[in-house]
């Protein structure tokens, strides 16, 4: 990845990552981490939110959500997610603040007291810009937030190619009786609306979902489900689904575990292509970037029978 380090402006970096800018090696890691905020761009880094449990009971229920942008799913091996776009919605629809956060080098964590019974949604969403342009004939690249783009890329940039990705990463947690207030669509970007309650998922049982793009059914959208534990299992066991005309898809959960669901629009080069001797998907040069990309991920816990 040819990324000019000078375009890695502090405004788009986690403060904790800044001190590592000296090393070229780490620069490339940071660059990769940023790129991963745009999963549609076919990078291996995966953004995830991992709740300590999707169902918490007891007198004083708390949940801890770890987040990471990692090479290996749910492994703490790279960097945590920024919490700028964190939105926690309570069972009554109210927006909540986390009770504590921890920003570590490789992980960001959120502690949340589940004060009211019902279902909570924890979401990290935001826009990022990827652009290439020329300035006085010199080719430049930019990756970062919309605000940083407005500040740093001059208005007179030539041959500007810009792609904005809106990504949403979320998970659901219930204490007491599950409810559905947080499952209502926002009608912005790509989102998954659970038909089967997302904290009531069991191995061997069927679950259905509806995908929406700006509130409209996302038909023929490919989505992927990967169970955690790849490190010890070896095989990925990825499940690929495609939504029907109404944007819905369903499956019978093969086993209990934490599953990472992802979808992206427009879809990348289909997985079967690029596996020959040529380029991998998304690695092709000269492909025009669509002006708008959408990405979605959710962590869903499937419990044993």
């Amino acid at each position: 990845m040819a990324l000019n380090p000078s375009t890695l402006k502090p405004s788009i970096l986690k403060p904790s990552a800044l001190k590592y800018r000296k090393s070229l090696f780490c620069k490339s890691i940071v660059a990769l981490a940023l790129a991963s905020l745009m999963p549609a761009a076919a990078h291996a880094h995966r953004p995830w939110l991992l709740p300590s449990s999707s169902n918490v009971d007891g007198k004083d229920p708390w949940v801890t959500i770890d987040t990471g942008i990692s090479e290996n799913l749910f492994d703490v091996d790279n960097t945590g997610m920024k919490l700028d776009g964190l939105v926690i919605t309570g069972p009554d629809g109210a927006t909540l603040q986390p009770d504590a956060t921890f920003v570590g080098h490789q992980r960001t964590s959120i502690d949340l007291k589940l004060a009211k019974p019902g279902t909570y949604k924890i979401s990290i969403a935001g826009e990022s810009v990827m652009a290439s342009y020329k300035l006085n004939g010199e080719p430049k690249r930019f990756r970062g937030t919309t605000e940083a783009f407005a500040k740093e890329v001059p208005a007179d940039a030539q041959e500007l190619q810009k792609s904005i990705t809106f990504s949403r990463n979320e998970t659901f947690v219930t204490t007491g009786e599950p409810n559905t207030t947080v499952l209502k669509p926002s009608n912005i970007g790509l989102e998954m609306i659970p038909i089967t309650h997302p904290t009531q998922l069991f191995a061997g049982e069927k679950a259905s979902f509806r995908f929406l793009i700006d509130g409209k059914p996302a038909a023929k959208l490919g989505l992927s489900l990967i169970p955690g534990g790849v490190r010890y299992r070896g095989v990925l066991n990825e499940i690929r689904l495609v939504t029907h005309d109404k944007g819905e898809a369903s499956l019978i959960w093969p086993a209990a575990g934490m599953y990472w669901m992802t979808a992206a629009w427009p879809e990348r080069t289909p997985g079967m292509e690029g596996q020959g001797p040529g380029q991998g998907p998304g690695e092709g040069k000269g492909q025009a970037q669509p002006a708008r990309r959408l990405a979605y991920s959710a962590t869903l816990e499937v419990l044993p029978q």
């Binding site: 990925l236 690929r240 997985g271 596996q275 020959g276 001797p277």
Partner: protein, 172 residues
Amino acid sequence: MKLHHSIALSIPLLSTPAIAADLSVTVTLPQLEVAAYHRPYVALWLEGADQTVIANLQVWYDLKKRDNGGAKWLSDMRQWWRKGGRDLQLPVDGITGATRGAGAHVLDFSSAKAPLDKLPAGEYQLVVEAAREAGGREVVRVPFNWSPGASQSEPVTVNGKEEIASVSLQIK
């Protein structure tokens, strides 16, 4: 086994490859329907029956990345890495190569060249490990008997689960 016959023949004809027992290996990498596909890193090596490493045969990794950046994921081939991959100075002539895509890859290892030229007769395993960025990792072992300059063998095929479709080995 026509052992005596073969040895007798091979003495005056040492330089004739048709007689030499070469190791022919076919590694088949699967087509995977996944959201994020990167071609796998693959290592092939020889082990004794007790699983000690005898020699590296092949290491396929991303050679194109700037500043040898592709070396970063070599350790994802965890068995190969712990069994000496860690200490290997890459690239190695004749061993390292670029990653390969899905399909059957036929590799011939000549008994006239290292490491087979000095390989004593005995029981061995061919080990193939594949690790894919954003994917899984898998090891396939194919046991075989090696007698230098000796008989041919029927191909033996061991199937993998996900990251390796199959590995076939034939002495011919």
